[in-house]
C-alpha cells in the first residue's frame, strides 16, 4: 500500500498497535470497574477524614490533633471529657471513678477498672499473643516514657514540674537510659495491681484535665520493647478499636476490638441533646461501628466532592464552597438539606491573635502605640473575608465555653475606631505615624499568609503605621519568634482543655520565649494572680481571678486579640450520635451508621 503525505492511512502495524492499546484500555477500565464494585467492608463502617498526614500512633508523640485522635482509638487515658455534657466535665475512662483527692489537694488516688485487656498482639510473647490485663504499673511506665528525655516528647509539659520526683527522675534518665525505668518515682506509685497514687508538687486544678490528653495514654511495655523504634506504627492499647491498616500519608483502617470491655453510650447529656436524638442510644454497648475507614485528605476539593458523593460521613466546608453551601442566614443550602445533610455549628476553643514582642524596645515600652493599633484593626471585616463570617471577634484570650470567659465583657481596645486609634497614636508620640519606623511583621509563606498580611498592612496604614512583611516557612517562623527577632506576627492557640488557665499561661512571665509566652509579657500582678489561680479549685473565686487577669491583659495589650472561630460541620443523614467535642479524642466509639438510610 502506497502512502502519500496528503492521504496518510494507518498501515497494519499502526492498526495493530491501536487495537492492542484500545483492548488494553478497555481491560483496565473493566478491571477498575469490577474492583470498584467489590465492597468488602461491613455495612456500618464509618468513613471519616483527617486533614493532615499522620505523625504516628505512639501517644507520647501525638502532638497534633489528628495523630492524637487516631492514637486515642487504641490507647486510652485514665479519664476523658464527657462526650455530651456541656460545660465540659471530666469522667472516668480506665478508672472506676474520679480519683480520691487528699485534703491538701496534692495526693490523687486512682482505682483502675478490673479486667481491662490490652489488645491481642504478637508482642505478648508469654501468653502466645493474648493481650494481658492493664495494671497500675502500666500507667507508671507510660508516664515515665512521657518524661524520658531520650524520647523527646512534645507532651512532657503536661507533667513537667507537677509530679513529685518526676523531674529529678528525668534528669537522671538522660544519663542512665533504659535501666532508669526501674527506679521509683516518689510521686508516681502503683500501690497495688489496680491502685495508682500520684503526689503533686502543688495543688493543681488542671491536673485532671491534663491527663485526659492522649500524651497520658497507657501503653504496654511489651509492645514498646517488641516494636522498638517502629512502635509508632503499631497500636496495642485497651481501646475500642484495633489497627487493621496504617498508611500515615493516606489511610488508616480500624476494626472493632473483640476484647474491648463492656462500655455503654452515655445516658446523660447537655440540654437539647435529647431533642437532637443524641440520647437515643443511651445505655447501648459501644462501639457501634465494626470498622472505621479514615482517609487522609490534604486538599479540600477531593474531600468535599467525596462528602457530596456520600463517601464520607462528616466534612468541614471548604472556604471556596461556603457560599454555595450556606445561605445568607447561615442556613444550609436547600440541595444539601434535601439530601438529609445536617449542619452542626460549634464554637472552637481557640483564639487567633496578632502578637507584639514586648522585648522589642519600640513596642515593649509603648502601650499607647499597641492600644492604637488594636483599635485600628477591623476584626469583623477580617472575619468576613478570611473565615466567611465563621468566627466571632475575641475580646480577650479566653474563648466561649471555657472557665473565665465573660460573655458581657467588651474590650475597649477592640472596638474598631479609627479616630480613637489616631488619637492614641498621637499620644504615643507618633501623630499620623510620623517618626514611627516601619514595623517588622512576620507571617507564613503561602497565599493565606500573604493575603492576611496585606489586609493587616492596609488596616494599620489607615492610621499611618507602616509594616514591612517578612514571610517564612513554618520552622523559620517559629525560630524567628522564639529567638525574639520579630516585632509583630499572627498566631493562634487551640485550647488543650476547657480552662482559662490554658490560655492565660501564654502570658505568664516564667513561660517567656522560648516558652509559650512568646510575646514575652511580664506583669508581676498578673503573675501573682496566675500562681494563685493554679491552686484554686473550680468555682467563683477562680473564675473571677481569671477575669481580673484578662482585664490586666486588655489594658496592657500584649496581643491584638483576633477571633474565636466557629466550626461548621456537615454530617450525612445516616450518621448518628455525632456531636463535636474539642477535648475528647476517642469519639469514634459513639458514632453509629444507620445502613438503612445509606441505601
Amino acid at each position: 500500500m502506497k502512502l502519500s503525505p496528503g492521504a496518510f492511512q494507518f498501515n497494519n502495524s499502526w492498526n495493530s498497535f491501536f487495537w492492542n492499546f484500545f483492548i488494553f484500555g478497555c481491560f483496565t477500565l473493566a478491571l477498575a470497574a469490577c474492583s470498584r464494585n467489590q465492597s468488602k467492608e461491613p455495612a456500618n463502617t464509618l468513613h471519616l477524614v483527617v486533614e493532615a498526614k499522620l505523625k504516628g500512633l505512639d501517644p507520647i508523640l501525638a502532638e497534633d490533633r489528628y495523630s492524637g485522635t487516631q492514637s486515642a482509638q487504641a490507647y486510652e487515658t485514665l479519664l476523658q471529657f464527657h462526650y455530651l455534657k456541656r460545660p465540659y466535665v471530666v469522667s472516668p475512662l480506665l478508672v472506676e471513678k474520679l480519683p480520691d483527692v487528699s485534703a491538701d489537694g496534692k495526693v490523687y488516688t486512682f482505682t483502675l477498672k478490673k479486667g481491662v485487656l490490652f489488645q491481642d498482639d504478637p508482642c505478648f510473647k508469654s501468653t502466645g499473643g493474648k493481650g494481658r490485663e492493664l495494671v497500675a504499673e502500666d500507667v507508671v511506665y507510660s508516664w515515665k516514657r512521657l518524661a524520658d528525655p531520650k524520647l523527646t516528647s512534645s507532651g512532657w509539659w503536661i507533667l513537667d514540674g507537677r509530679v513529685v520526683g518526676l523531674n529529678a527522675w528525668r534528669d537522671r534518665a538522660s544519663k542512665n537510659g533504659e535501666k532508669h525505668y526501674t527506679e521509683e518515682v516518689d510521686g508516681l506509685r502503683a500501690l497495688d495491681r489496680y491502685t495508682l497514687q500520684v503526689k503533686l508538687t502543688q495543688r493543681s486544678a488542671q491536673f485532671l484535665y491534663l491527663i485526659t490528653m492522649p500524651f497520658a495514654a497507657v501503653v504496654p511495655h511489651e509492645a514498646v520493647d517488641f516494636y522498638g523504634k517502629e512502635f509508632l506504627n503499631h497500636a496495642v492499647g485497651t481501646g475500642p478499636f484495633r489497627l487493621a491498616e496504617y498508611h500515615p500519608t493516606s489511610k488508616v483502617v480500624w476494626v472493632k476490638n473483640p476484647t474491648f470491655r463492656k462500655e455503654v453510650y452515655p445516658e446523660e447529656g447537655a440540654p437539647g441533646d435529647h431533642e437532637a436524638g443524641l440520647l437515643a442510644d443511651a445505655g447501648r454497648t459501644i462501639p457501634f461501628a465494626d470498622q472505621v475507614d479514615v482517609q487522609v485528605f490534604v486538599e479540600q476539593q477531593p474531600m468535599w466532592l467525596s462528602f457530596l458523593a456520600g463517601q464520607l460521613d462528616i466534612s468541614g466546608i471548604p472556604k471556596d464552597n461556603f457560599s454555595s453551601s450556606i445561605g445568607p442566614g447561615q442556613e444550609l443550602a436547600p440541595d444539601l438539606l434535601a439530601k438529609g445533610i445536617r449542619l452542626i455549628k460549634q464554637p472552637v476553643a481557640d483564639v487567633t491573635h496578632l502578637s507584639f514582642n514586648l522585648e522589642d524596645p519600640l513596642l515593649g515600652k509603648n502601650k499607647l502605640l499597641r492600644q492604637a493599633m488594636s483599635l485600628a484593626f477591623d476584626q469583623n471585616t477580617f472575619n468576613e473575608i478570611f473565615y466567611n463570617g465563621r468566627a466571632m471577634a475575641a475580646q480577650g484570650p479566653i474563648p466561649p465555653g471555657t472557665d473565665g470567659y465573660d460573655v458581657n465583657f467588651k474590650n475597649p481596645y477592640r472596638q474598631f475606631n479609627i479616630n480613637k486609634a489616631r488619637e492614641l497614636l498621637a499620644k504615643a508620640g507618633y501623630p499620623g505615624g510620623k517618626g514611627l519606623p516601619p514595623l517588622e511583621y512576620a507571617t507564613l509563606a503561602g497565599s493565606s499568609g500573604r493575603q492576611q498580611s496585606e489586609f493587616t498592612t492596609k488596616m494599620f496604614a489607615a492610621i499611618g503605621v507602616k509594616l514591612n512583611t517578612n514571610t517564612y516557612s513554618w520552622p523559620q517562623f517559629l525560630e524567628t519568634i522564639k529567638n525574639k527577632k520579630a516585632q509583630i506576627w499572627e498566631f493562634a492557640w487551640g485550647g488543650d482543655y476547657p480552662d482559662g488557665e490554658n490560655f492565660l499561661q501564654l502570658f505568664y512571665s516564667k513561660n517567656a520565649s522560648p516558652g509559650q509566652n512568646d510575646s514575652n509579657y511580664r506583669n508581676p500582678e498578673f503573675d501573682r494572680l496566675y500562681e494563685l489561680a493554679l491552686t484554686l479549685p473550680e468555682g467563683k473565686q477562680r473564675t473571677e481571678t481569671y477575669q481580673k487577669m484578662v482585664r490586666i491583659l486588655v489594658e496592657d495589650c500584649p496581643w491584638i486579640f483576633g477571633s474565636h472561630r466557629l466550626s461548621y460541620i456537615l454530617a450525612q443523614k445516616w450518621l448518628k450520635n455525632y456531636k463535636p467535642n474539642d477535648f475528647s479524642h476517642s469519639n469514634y466509639k459513639y458514632y453509629r451508621v444507620d445502613p438503612r438510610l445509606k441505601k
Binding site: K53, G56, E63, T152, L232, P302, L305, L308, W474
Partner: protein, 311 residues
Amino acid sequence: MFAYIVRKLLSTIPTLLGVALIVFALFNLVGGDPTYQMLGRHANAQQIEEVRHEYGFDQSRPVQFLNYLKQIVTFDYGRSYSTRQSISQMIGDGIVPSLSLMIPAFLLTTLLSIAIGLGAAYFRGKAIDRVTVILCIFGMSLPMLGYILFGQYFFAFKLGWFPISGYETAWPDRVQYIIMPMVIFVLVSLGYDVRFYRTAILEETSQDYVRTARAKGLSEPVIFFRHVLKNSMVPILTNIVIEIPLLILGAFLLESFFGIPGLGSITIDAVNNSDFPVIKAMTTLVAFLYILGNLATDVLYTLVDPRVRLK
C-alpha cells in the same frame, strides 16, 4: 565501554560531594531550626537543649557535614524529624505508589508523543500538523491543577467513572485509583513532548540522506519509520532518559489531590518542615539516579547510532 562506565561511576563521587555541600549549606542558611517545630509551643529552654543534643544540632557544622557524608555512603539517613518514621521505610513505602502512577503514565506519554510527533512531522505544514501544534500549545498552557479540578469534578464526581481520591496497595484495586491521575499526567505532558519530538524529527528530515532516499524512490513511510525515526533517536533518548530519574519523585500535585502516598509529597513536606534528613536522602537519591540516567543515555547512544563510541 566497561572502562568508560567505571570512570563515569567514579565521577559520581565529586558530583555527589558537590550536591551534598550545596544542600548542607542551603539548609543551614535558610532551612530554619526544626527544634521548635518538633517540640511545639509548650517547649521550654531545657527541652530545646535536650532535643538539640539528641539530634546532634549542637555539634559543629564540620562534624554535622561529616555525619551527612557518612549517611550518603551507608544510605542510612535515620529518621525524619517531622514524622519520626524511618527514612528508608518512607522511601520504600512511597516509591511503589509513585512508580505505579508514573511508569504507565510515562510510557504512555512517550509512546503517544513519539507517534503524534512523527505524524505531525509527516504532515508538516498541513492542517493536521497545525491543529496538533495548536493543541500542544493549548495543553501546555493549561496548568495541571485545572485538569485535576475538572477531572475530579466531572469524570469522578458527576459521571462516577473513577474514584474521586484514594489509593489501595492491593492489585487490581489500585488500578481504579491510578487511571485518572495517569490520564491527566499524559495530557499535561503531551504538549511539551510532542513539540519536542516533532522538532527533533523535522530536523532529521532536512538531512541529506533523506533527500537521497527520496531520490532513490523510497516510500515516505519507509523513509520515516526506517530512517528518520532511527536517526532521531539520539535527542529522543536524551529526553526520555533524563526524565526517568525524576519519575521517582512522582507528581506532587497529582499525589496530593488524588491521595496517592508517593514520594513527591514526601519531598515537598520535607522542604516545608525543614526535615533535613529526608531532604538529604531525596536529594542524594535523585542526584545519583540522574548520574546513572546520563550514563545509561551514553550507553544507549552506541546502540542507536553506530557512529558513537564510548572512550
